[in-house]
Amino acid sequence: MKRRLFLKSAMASSAVATAVGAGLLTPKMVFAASDAFTATSKAAVSAAAGASEGTFKFKAPKIAENGAVVPVSVDASNLDNVTNISFLVQTNNTPLAASFNFAGALGFVSTRIKMGKTSPVTAVVTSGGAVSALTNEIKVTVGGCGG
């Protein structure tokens, strides 16, 4: 079952019930994220959908060395009055990884996220009420040598 398809169909609660009933999903998996966080995630996804292309800097690896620790950072200090920076891992059940609200801090954040597989990752910036976004594909491979 494709997760993205599932995401769309999950809007209809009956589909979730069916999936749970069929043993495809354990209740824990469905409710892993809190309702509030899921709502924030949904809001961020729809905001990103209508966003213009960002002029800020979004740093993320093309190929992640370690899927458990993928560094991502946004430098939106070129924009005035940045009030929020969010990261969305598009293929996750709950795409939102983190949402940072700013009041007095510069429009910059750097963090590390975990990714189980290759996915487009979107950085969403809200500045002066306008939303802009940039998406980078981050490849996750299971490593070999190194060192």
């Binding site: 690896p61 060395e65 560094p71 750097s110 040598c145 190194g146």
Partner: protein, 311 residues
């Protein structure tokens, strides 16, 4: 794309490269001169060994003109791939190993049952210890490594031996590597010392001999293969591999659920041997000690960069 530029230096750059190699050689010689004048008693480098070092370093400098000079090679595969470098820098912003390096420092200071501490076993002040090893011990007729010296110190003070390769052993070594930041590697194979040259040559042979089922030598991967990709990973250049050990490897950290990713250079040798499907040798015996002697000498003139993260 940037990577291809590195692998296939364009012809128009040739003149620049020669100039660069010359310049870097002069700097290296100057550093070597500086070092030997400060350690007036230390023996002169064997001319055979110096020729090997020049050829080895010259090869890398010529082949990778985009790497930032001799010192740039200490960043390994990261120096050859911007995407990886960015991730390395992100990890090093606040590295996962700080706590264990601190613990290593505490173990270094902690008195043994007899009241002595580790420093009683070393003549050098702590910041100079890392770069003082590996070195030829003419009295014993063998190579001394820092890691072996730590074990010897425990034994001579009546303490229980530690396991080698990782754990406490690696933390203390990592503490000393961190203190050693900015000192220079300067392995000397004394001119005219046949036994020292034999140990060096033994290590050199290990480095260039193909081994294991895959029939690959250290040099196949880390000299000829440097910068090339194997199974999605970039092979690091042999030059500069010893500037930052013990390293914290993501791969080793995952084995301990992120608790301890530290390993010594000889732990890494074992891993490399296994990767070509050869049986690894016992740590801190002549095979790896001599390899460490040769391998480190090849990076003479390079700075110890503190302990670092590696994939």
């Amino acid at each position: 794309m940037a990577e291809q530029d590195l692998l296939l230096p364009s012809l128009s750059k040739t003149d620049n490269i020669k100039e660069r190699v010359m310049r870097i050689k002069i700097i290296t010689m100057a550093i070597a001169a500086m070092l030997s004048s400060t350690v007036a008693l230390s023996a002169q480098q064997s001319s055979v060994v110096q020729a090997d070092i020049d050829a080895y370093q010259g090869y890398f400098l010529e082949r990778f003109p985009n790497v930032d000079g001799l010192q740039g090679f200490s960043k390994g595969a990261y120096a050859m791939n911007e995407d990886k470098m960015m991730q390395f820098e992100a990890v090093m912003e606040m590295p996962p190993f700080e706590d264990l390096v601190e613990k290593g420092g505490e173990l270094w200071e902690k008195p043994f049952a007899n009241g002595n501490t580790f420093s009683s076993c070393f003549e050098e002040e702590p910041s100079l210890i890392r770069a003082a090893y590996p070195r030829w011990n003419s009295a014993k007729g063998k190579v001394d490594t820092l890691e072996q010296a730590l074990i010897d110190c425990l034994v001579s003070n009546g303490e229980k031996k530690w396991g080698t390769g990782k754990g406490k052993h690696a933390w203390v070594a990592a503490h000393l590597t961190t203190l050693g930041e900015g000192t220079f590697i300067n392995v000397i194979v004394p001119e005219g010392d046949e036994a020292a040259l034999a140990a060096y040559n033994d290590g050199k042979k290990h480095y260039y001999a193909k081994r294991g089922q895959l029939n690959l030598s250290c040099a196949n991967c880390h000299v000829e293969g440097a910068g090339m990709r194997v199974r999605g990973n970039t092979l690091s250049p042999g030059l500069g591999q010893t500037t930052h050990f013990p390293v914290w490897r993501g791969k080793w950290a995952r084995k301990t659920n992120g608790v301890d990713g530290f390993g010594t250079i000889q732990r890494r040798y074992g891993g490399c041997n296994k990767q070509v499907r050869a049986k690894p040798f016992k740590r801190h015996k002549s095979e790896y000690d001599n390899l460490e002697f040769f391998h480190t000498a090849m990076s003479n003139g390079m700075e110890i960069t503190t302990t670092e993260y590696r994939e």
